[in-house]
């Protein structure tokens, strides 16, 4: 206290610092990416006495300094509530919005499971039931005798969820509280989403650049001007050149419908990022595997169909090709004539894909399926081989790898 007394204008701050740091750590715990610089800003703002002993004002000021995106406001609110209202036991099941869960859950299921699920009355009902049981479990936890999925009759343990997914009802882990696993899971999910956001995608796509000067000459060409002026014996002769821009040409083929419905969000992001990044970009759509024709719109109407033969004539082989699809289908859909689930194809998907690849040597396949799962699908292995191992996961690493590969080859 003696020391503090000496610098008396500082001591309220010193008191506050301790409190603020643990508040800050609570925020980090809730997954907010606030940095130390921002914490210092908040301290500075407090020191300037912008607010006076009002909780509401402190809330606003802290949010102003520490949170930089409105989508993070909710996390901040929850962290704030936890820190200042004491540890409130929140109803986690109610707290997790359904739309986070559903795509995540569906992603974890295989075709077979989905069929099984349908027989149980659909995912919504199952989820409802699950929440119900989660609630019960919280209440009865003290007794420690009722677990989701361990009874053997529960549907929740039976699905073989991904080990990193919603680990409910794992046999033999009776000590783990299911609520906590929920908690971990949704933040993880959130972070992964954040990693591959629009900006990250755009930056990755950016590596695919071939600068060229085309179009109207608006920029002063300094070297050209010096040369021309010298030739004119010192009489100024201005030379102009077109501005430099990305001249890389890209064709993108999107698989849509069926199993790809789970990845709509990822595909939309990729679509948007690609659209803003490339000037020469064409989109086509297919279902499961490209056959003799692809479509210009995602409705895939007959009028929008473009035959591959025509496509090969239209686009020069310097176009780079990106396929986006989960490559999850019956192997016969690729290898046999007539294997398509939609129509009778006289020649197999394999033949058409080989034709495409022969014409466009620069091609990669982006697969939104988690990479750890690839080995379970025979069709992925076939396509991987057809693509000469140029199949990449739709993660930040995968995308960067794919783009690096595309830009390496000419």
């Amino acid at each position: 206290m003696w020391l503090c007394w000496k610098n008396w204008p500082l001591w309220p701050v010193a008191l506050a610092v301790d409190m603020l740091i643990s508040f800050f750590l609570t925020l980090r715990k809730y997954g907010l990416k606030s940095s130390i610089t921002e914490l210092l800003d908040l301290l500075k703002a407090l020191q300037q006495q912008l607010i006076f002993a009002s909780m509401d004002d402190f809330y606003l000021l802290a949010r102003l300094c520490l949170v930089k995106d409105e989508s993070q406001y909710d996390k901040f609110d929850r962290a704030f509530a936890e820190y200042f209202d004491g540890v409130e036991s929140l109803d986690l099941a109610a707290l997790i919005p359904e739309h986070w869960l559903l795509p995540g859950l569906i992603r974890q299921l295989s075709e077979e499971d989905k069929a099984k699920l349908a027989s149980l009355g659909g995912l919504e009902q199952l989820l409802e039931q699950f929440k119900q049981r989660l609630k019960e479990q919280q209440e009865k936890h003290a007794g420690g005798n009722k677990w989701i999925g361990t009874g053997g009759s529960s549907p929740f343990g039976a699905y073989g969820f991904h080990p990193e997914g919603i680990r409910v009802g794992q046999q033999g882990t009776g000590q783990r509280r299911a609520v906590k696993v929920w908690d971990q899971r949704d933040f993880k999910d959130f972070d992964q989403n954040a990693e591959l956001n629009h900006r990250a995608m755009q930056l990755a796509l950016r590596q695919l650049r071939r600068f060229a000067r085309t179009g109207q000459a608006t920029e002063l060409d300094l070297n050209g001007t010096i040369k021309a002026t010298a030739q004119q014996a010192g009489w100024l002769d201005l030379q102009f050149q077109p501005e430099r821009h990305n001249a890389v040409k890209v064709l993108m083929f999107f698989d849509i419908g069926g199993s790809m419905d789970d990845y709509i969000h990822e595909c939309e992001q990729l679509f948007a990022a690609a659209r803003t990044e490339f000037k020469h970009l064409e989109f086509f759509y297919f279902h499961n595997c490209p056959y003799e024709q692809v479509w210009r719109t995602h409705q895939r109407r007959a009028a929008d169909a473009v035959s591959i033969t025509q496509l090969l004539q239209t686009y020069h082989s310097d176009y780079k090709v990106i396929f986006v699809g989960d490559a999850t289908m019956g192997p016969y859909e690729i290898t046999y004539p007539g294997g398509s689930v939609e129509h009778f194809n006289p020649e197999s998907g394999e033949v058409w894909l080989k034709r495409l690849l022969a014409h466009f040597p620069n091609a990669v396949w982006l697969n939104p399926q988690p990479q750890a799962w690839w080995s379970h699908y025979h069709s992925i292995a076939i396509l991987q081989k057809l693509m000469q191992n140029q199949m990449y996961g739709m993660t930040l690493d995968g995308l960067s790898g794919a783009i690096r590969n595309l830009s390496k080859r000419h």
Binding site: A45, L64, K68, D69, H198, R199, Q202, L236
Partner: protein, 281 residues
């Protein structure tokens, strides 16, 4: 409090705190929010209430960070060289200061508005990091260093078209302008139309909030659209009873063109009204 609501501009307490913090701590303030919630207006009003200049740097997709600092006009210097002009000896004659330079050297601490920063290239905010942080930059042609006499008040707006880089965000204060609630909106409207009849205002606001509650709309009307619409209602002398008639013009409010900017939204509203009519029968 440095900045408060004025006669014509209603400021929420949250936003007031944000602005005052940014002014006091000399940090850029990043403002996001739905289009039409008064982001650009804020900078104008702030400059007016402080009695200082507003320097408006409107960002376009072709804007470069360098343009905000200065531009070197090599072409006119070459021309002058040919004509044997006196000016050519001094390179600084050909350096044109940009908005940031102007803001740094202004006599009185100005408000610098960097409007719609998300329109620019994805690297644009990163290129401005150092300049906004240190408030100084070098002019390579003359070797001169331009530093701010006093740090300008920087207001940056974004419509969320692109995500901004983290390093940039860390240097700003961030505030998201929420859509005003009914009370605040009433205040805002009264600030613009002091003589508006109470019943017309109530009826209009009711129609407006009902419209905003329609989730499927492509573009929800915002404050600026409401103000335009009220202006039209007054000019056309529409009675409050017309507004309350839910089936007017097949379910569309009078002068709907001011509120709905998308023909799909108009069609949607007609369809909803049609369904309401059928259900009522």
């Amino acid at each position: 409090m440095i900045f408060q609501s004025t006669e014509h501009y209603i400021l929420s307490p949250e936003l007031a705190l944000a602005v005052n913090a940014a002014v006091t701590l000399e940090k850029p303030l990043l403002i996001k929010g739905e289009p039409g919630t008064g982001k650009t207006r804020l900078a104008e009003e702030l400059a007016a209430s402080l009695g200082t200049d507003l320097i408006n740097w409107q960002i376009k997709s072709t804007s470069k960070a360098q343009q905000g600092l200065y531009e070197y006009d090599a072409v006119s210097r070459l021309r002058d060289g040919q004509l044997g002009s006196e000016r050519v000896a001094n390179i600084s004659n050909y350096i044109k200061p940009g908005k940031l330079w102007t803001a740094f050297t202004a006599a009185k601490r100005p408000v610098l508005l960097i409007d719609e920063i998300d329109k620019a290239d994805i690297e644009f905010p990163n290129d401005l990091l150092h300049e906004l942080d240190r408030m100084s930059f070098d002019v390579y042609e003359t070797g001169e260093r331009i530093s701010a006499q006093q740090r300008p008040i920087v207001v940056i707006t974004s419509n969320n078209e692109k995500e901004l880089p983290d390093a940039f965000l860390r240097r700003c204060f961030f505030h998201y302008i929420r859509f005003p609630d009914k009370d605040t909106l009433t205040q805002i409207v009264l600030a613009h139309f002091p003589t508006l009849q109470a019943d017309l205002l109530t009826a209009a606001l009711e129609v407006f909030f009902d419209l905003r509650a329609v989730d499927a709309l492509k573009k929800k009307p915002s404050t600026s659209e409401l103000l335009d619409w009220l202006k039209l209602l007054l000019a056309e002398q529409i009675a409050p009873s017309v507004l309350q008639d839910k089936q007017h013009q097949g379910g569309l409010m009078p002068l709907y063109g001011a509120l709905l900017k998308n023909e799909q939204d108009v069609a949607l509203l007609e369809k909803l009204a049609f369904m309401a009519r059928r259900a009522g029968r």
